[in-house]
């Protein structure tokens, strides 16, 4: 059975720059599309992939990635901002790796661009009034 999934990979510091993902194609016959890639403030890598392949290959591929210390998270959740709660402080700007959260220097208001968000969740705990939320 063929499957198609969107997943987020969190690479620990020491795995960044190693060709782990390319092994997916070579050894497990899984196709992937890179939807987003970035290095977080903690020097961890974040990769959002759309993967297609045989179900059993997909599961083996995931096992392999996990054995490399990579954390896998399904991209089923959605990051939303509770606009009423956001105080436009700007604390999240320091951690967002994809610039989904940016500040307008004229109005000094912080905007959230859903399309740029990699769902890395780094902003969730950093936001002091907890305006950033994960929705499943």
């Amino acid at each position: 059975m063929m499957v198609r999934h969107k997943i987020v990979l969190h690479f620990p510091h020491e795995q960044v720059g190693k060709p782990v993902v390319s092994k997916l194609v070579r050894d497990f016959d899984i196709d992937f599309n890179i939807l987003k890639a970035s290095i977080t403030p903690r020097e961890e890598g974040i990769l959002v992939l759309e993967v297609t392949g045989e179900q059993k290959n997909y599961l083996k591929g995931l096992e392999y990635l996990e054995s490399c210390g990579i954390k896998i998270q399904p991209l089923s959740q959605d990051i939303k901002r509770d606009e009423a709660k956001c105080t436009h402080c700007g604390a999240c700007i320091a951690v967002c790796p994809t610039e989904a959260l940016t500040i307008d220097r004229a109005t000094m208001e912080v905007s959230f661009d859903d399309d740029e968000c990699a769902a890395c969740e780094l902003c969730i705990k950093v936001c002091p009034p907890r305006a950033m939320e994960v929705h499943y």
């Binding site: 403030p41 604390a91 700007i93 320091a94 000094m108 705990k125 950093v126 002091p128 907890r130």
Partner: protein
């Protein structure tokens, strides 16, 4: 041409007062010159909105039957101070709910603390009170559990012993690990620089030598009305200053109080600082009477003339070495990037400048509508001799 507060109040009551914000006064002085601007303008409004840990509220709960002399109490499981008279309590902004794991799973989330209780109260929500006592002849009650709200209690005052810091550190991290501080998350090796002041809009930056803001000054506090009680804790005016009198290190502070009823969650917001603790973001707006040219000149200060120290929070701040890595002005901080030791570092704020601007605007509207008049301070705040020196940073 000097004005008095009484004269300004006359104009406010007639709806004729000219009120501008601390941002607008900058352009006005630029366009018309100091002399003309000082003649035209009556009041300059300031604003700030940021986490201020030294905040809390005194509440008198009113007595149940039978009466009780509370020895320990909790609001929504957050312990409160009850070492005062029978049903008087103080809820502090940084006190954590008793079940909170704190930093046991590091970094802790600190989701609900005293600041959140205060936010819930001003939002009109019911809060669960649990209290116990050893019982006395006059106060036999031993246990009390009930829901309270701002409507049910007798009195509730916000009482903040240290707010509105005149300038603050820019926090950075020189170490190799992520730091979780009251200045937010600091990424390793100068990953970011966090600051916390409204700069040119900040109240005490606009009256740097405390010529008008004093004991008894009526202010915008948490969306309602408050007063300056006096100088706050850690008030230290003996710091080096720029030519306009602005301190280049954390300096003066204010002790503020006001009735909690009438305040709102938009301007009193519970904060959770990851890995550090809970706090309360407080909105403050202080009017500055444009008494003379000297006062107006000080209030027309701009971000590029306000200087903050850069401090390493991996070693120098926690160990209290007093070392400063460098200095930077608020215009640079607000641009989003500063340079430290030749490295470009991104900046982030904890103090919301857009909210500060909104507060200065709200206070301006209050004064213009004639609802809010100015008060003559009962006493000025202590200011050390160096305030009058013309020291350049």
């Amino acid at each position: 041409m000097a004005k008095t507060i009484a004269e300004i109040n006359e104009k406010i009551k007639k709806g004729e007062a000219v009120v501008v914000t601390a941002e607008e006064i900058i352009d006005l002085v630029d366009q018309k010159g100091l002399e003309e601007a000082a003649r035209e303008v009556d009041v300059i409004t300031t604003g700030t909105f940021g986490p201020m840990c030294s905040s809390g509220a005194f509440i008198n709960l009113g007595h149940p039957q039978p009466r009780i002399k509370i020895s320990r109490a909790w609001l929504n499981d957050v312990p409160v101070f009850s070492g005062i008279a029978a049903v008087d309590i103080y809820i502090g902004a940084t006190e954590m709910a008793e079940y909170d794991p704190l930093n046991e799973v590091y970094p802790g989330g600190f989701n609900y603390g005293g600041g959140h209780v205060i936010e819930d109260l001003v939002a009109g929500k019911k809060v669960y009170l649990r209290a116990d006592s050893y019982g006395t002849d006059c106060y036999p009650g031993r246990q009390w559990e009930t829901e309270i709200s701002l409507d049910s209690v007798k009195e509730a005052w916000l009482y903040n012993p240290r707010n509105a810091y005149q300038n603050y550190n820019v926090a950075v991290n020189l170490s190799d690990r992520v730091l979780y501080t009251y200045m937010g998350v600091l990424r390793p090796q100068l990953g970011n620089a966090n600051y916390c002041s409204a700069g040119q809009l900040s109240p005490l930056f606009n009256d740097p030598l405390f010529k008008t803001i004093g004991m008894g000054t009526r202010i915008f506090l948490g969306g309602g009305i408050g007063y300056v009680v006096g100088h706050g804790t850690q008030h230290n005016t003996g710091t080096a200053r720029t030519q306009t009198g602005a301190p280049i290190r954390p300096s003066g502070t204010l002790d503020l109080s006001g009735e909690l009823r009438g305040m709102s969650p938009r301007w009193l917001t519970g904060y959770s600082m990851v890995g550090y603790g809970a706090s309360l973001a407080v909105g403050i707006g202080i009017p500055i009477p444009a008494l003379n040219e000297e006062v107006v000149k000080a209030a027309a200060v701009r971000d590029e003339d306000l200087i903050a120290p850069i401090v390493d929070y991996s070693l120098d701040y926690p160990q209290g070495t007093g070392k400063v890595l460098g200095e930077v002005d608020y215009a640079q901080l607000k641009s989003g990037r500063i340079e430290i030791d030749g490295k470009e570092v991104m900046t982030a704020a904890l103090s919301s400048y857009s909210r500060a601007r909104e507060i200065a605007g709200v206070l301006k509207d209050w004064i213009r509508s004639g609802d809010f008049t100015l008060t003559q301070p009962v006493d000025l705040l202590p200011c050390e001799a160096r305030c009058d020196s013309e020291e350049v940073s």
